[in-house]
């Protein structure tokens, strides 16, 4: 069993990274994605539940996700994060330390499960995570609240629909610097399909962007 816990600043792209990872792991056995986000009301993993379920991915979300209720209730099913029921488990954590509080109660079970990973997803073009200091501070806050240390960094720097190759390439040095200062490996830089980054200096992973559109 492998567990991937995905944390970071809210709006850093955790949900996209989580969904892409779920599809990537489909050829390695059963996959479950746990939407642990008890903070974000609108744009979240649970938006894509139907599509993922029909593709064979188990989706476990808070009871009232995407309803009119602001009640962050997690069911007993969340204990299956580390019970071994699924071969691959992805945990999409809510943003910041406030989101990571929900992770705390599962941290011990995850840490005792053997193969676990805790990824810090960062977009260096978000105003509260522009600098190394901002990020180190936030990483500590998340680790303290979620009670689970990070094991790697995912550079998900983007400008949404206006992302260019330069957007990505300019972020690489900062990502490497964060890796050095935090003493954590930079796992990959995620880049949306269709953006050419031939001269990248960090490992590149292609991702498909899942977004909810109203218009």
């Amino acid at each position: 069993m492998s567990i991937y816990v995905i944390s970071g600043h809210y709006g850093s792209g955790k949900t996209n990274i989580a969904i892409n990872l779920a599809y990537e792991l489909l050829n390695k056995g059963t996959v479950a994605i746990f939407d642990l986000d008890v903070v974000n009301p609108y744009f979240r993993t649970a938006d894509f539940t139907d599509r993922m379920r029909s593709d064979g991915i188990s989706v476990i979300a808070p009871v009232f996700a995407n309803t009119n209720l602001d009640t962050p209730a997690l069911t007993g099913e969340f204990a299956n994060i580390y019970s071994g029921v699924y071969d691959n488990v992805i945990v999409d954590v809510g943003g910041d330390d406030s989101g990571a509080f929900a992770l705390g109660q599962y941290a011990e079970g995850i840490a005792n499960s053997g193969d676990w990973n805790h990824w810090y997803v960062v977009n260096f073009l978000r105003t509260l995570t522009l600098t190394i200091t901002d990020n180190i501070e936030l990483m500590r806050d998340i680790e303290n609240a979620g009670k689970l240390p990070f094991t790697g960094i995912v550079n998900n720097t983007n400008l949404g629909a206006e992302t260019t190759p330069e957007t990505v390439l300019r972020s690489e040095e900062t990502a490497k610097e964060l890796s050095r200062v935090s003493n954590l490996p930079l796992l990959f830089t995620s880049v949306a399909e269709g953006i050419s980054v031939g001269n990248a200096t960090t490992p590149i992973k292609r991702i498909r962007i899942a977004t909810k559109r109203y218009w």
């Binding site: 009301p41 309803t67 009119n68």
Partner: protein, 355 residues
């Protein structure tokens, strides 16, 4: 020009307010605007500003009255039920001629309603944001960049006319992320405000921030003077966007996030041969009456599309003044109208798709 960043609407409002010189934010958390408070909570201590989570929305708006009265750029934000709680304070602020910025990221109502997006506080914002003879300037952004720009300018507008500016957004605008270019930071001094109660040091008459008048004649005179200022605003500050109105037969009126759905619908309708266009009010008060009155001479019909049961449509009808039919389509309770639904309404009005 600064580098573009990726922001939620709620964050763009907070950062832009800081750049406009706002150093006093008083709030209380409520979905879907909590990021505004969360953002200020992180940034204010680092720049010598004050972020204060009040014990209630009522306390927060009265702190805005106090801070604004002392000449500081002060702001509060909430979502629908919280704004209802603030209305008493808004009335006192209007009665005291104190500038401030208030934001409402609307959710479904009435009552506790729900946390999904809505525009059902249009009446409250434009007709009665508090008791008494009063108006507040109501600004309706439709994207993250506009949320930043409108917030930045809202403080200047509020100070120019010494009254509250209300930014009326909805849950989509607050929560969605878009690239944004942030405005340049500026420094603000309370000393530029001769009316502010910021300490007279025995060098001038003391200023009083007050909305109570014992003499009815004096109160009437005060209110009349205020209405002269309102007339100035109606003359000078009306803002709207026109989209494909030049050859349009049917004009959609929509504001905020709904206007973006309307634009998609207009493009689809035009492919079907229906000449539709959009007038998007950016100021909801003052309402862009003149453009609608002008278009009423030329177009066949109007369709107001809103995330409510029909509120702005009343102002559209007043502006059109019976010259042409005014139809309404809306969804409410947190449901966002789809482009397909709007196209179907346009087809009905047009008498079926044109050949």
């Amino acid at each position: 020009m600064s580098e573009k960043v990726l922001m939620k609407g709620n964050e763009a409002v907070a950062e832009s307010a800081i750049r406009a010189g706002c150093r006093h934010f008083f709030g209380y958390p409520i979905t879907p605007q909590t990021e505004v408070a969360a953002y200020f909570a992180k940034r204010m201590p680092k720049i010598g500003g004050t972020y204060l989570q009040a014990e209630s929305e009522i306390a927060a708006i009265n702190m805005v009255l106090g801070a604004g009265g002392s000449g500081a750029r002060a702001m509060t934000s909430s979502s629908s039920p919280g704004i209802s709680l603030k209305t008493e304070g808004i009335s006192y602020i209007c009665g005291s001629d104190v500038p401030c910025v208030i934001m409402n990221i609307e959710r479904g109502g009435p009552g506790l309603g729900g946390i999904q997006p809505s525009q059902s506080d249009y009446f409250q914002a434009t007709k009665a944001p508090g008791h008494g003879d009063l108006h507040v300037i109501v600004l309706a952004p439709s994207g993250v960049q506009e949320m930043a720009d409108i917030t930045y300018n809202a403080f200047d507008l509020a100070e120019k006319y010494r009254m509250p500016c209300l930014i009326l957004g909805d849950g989509i605008l607050g929560q969605m992320m878009e690239p944004v270019e942030l405005p340049e930071p500026k420094e603000i001094s309370a000393e530029d405000k001769p009316w502010a109660a910021c300490g007279h040091e025995n060098k001038r008459e003391h200023n009083i921030i007050n909305s109570l008048y014992l003499d009815p004649a004096e109160l009437e005179q005060k209110v009349r003077a205020r209405y002269e200022r309102y007339a100035e605003i109606e003359k000078n500050e009306v803002r709207f966007e026109e989209y494909k109105t030049d050859d349009a037969d049917i004009i959609i009126t929509a504001f905020g996030a709904t206007s973006r759905v309307a634009k998609s619908a207009i493009n689809t309708a035009r492919e079907m041969g229906i000449k539709a266009g959009l007038v998007r009010p950016i100021t909801l008060w003052p309402f862009p009456k003149e453009i609608l009155a002008k278009l009423a001479d030329r177009v066949k019909a109007f369709l107001s599309v809103e995330m409510n049961m029909g509120q702005m449509v009343d102002d559209v009808k007043l502006a059109v003044n019976g010259k042409k039919p005014v139809y309404f389509f809306g969804r409410t309770g947190g449901i966002v109208p789809t482009a397909e639904e709007i196209v179907a309404e346009l087809e009905k009005i047009n008498g079926g798709a044109a050949k």
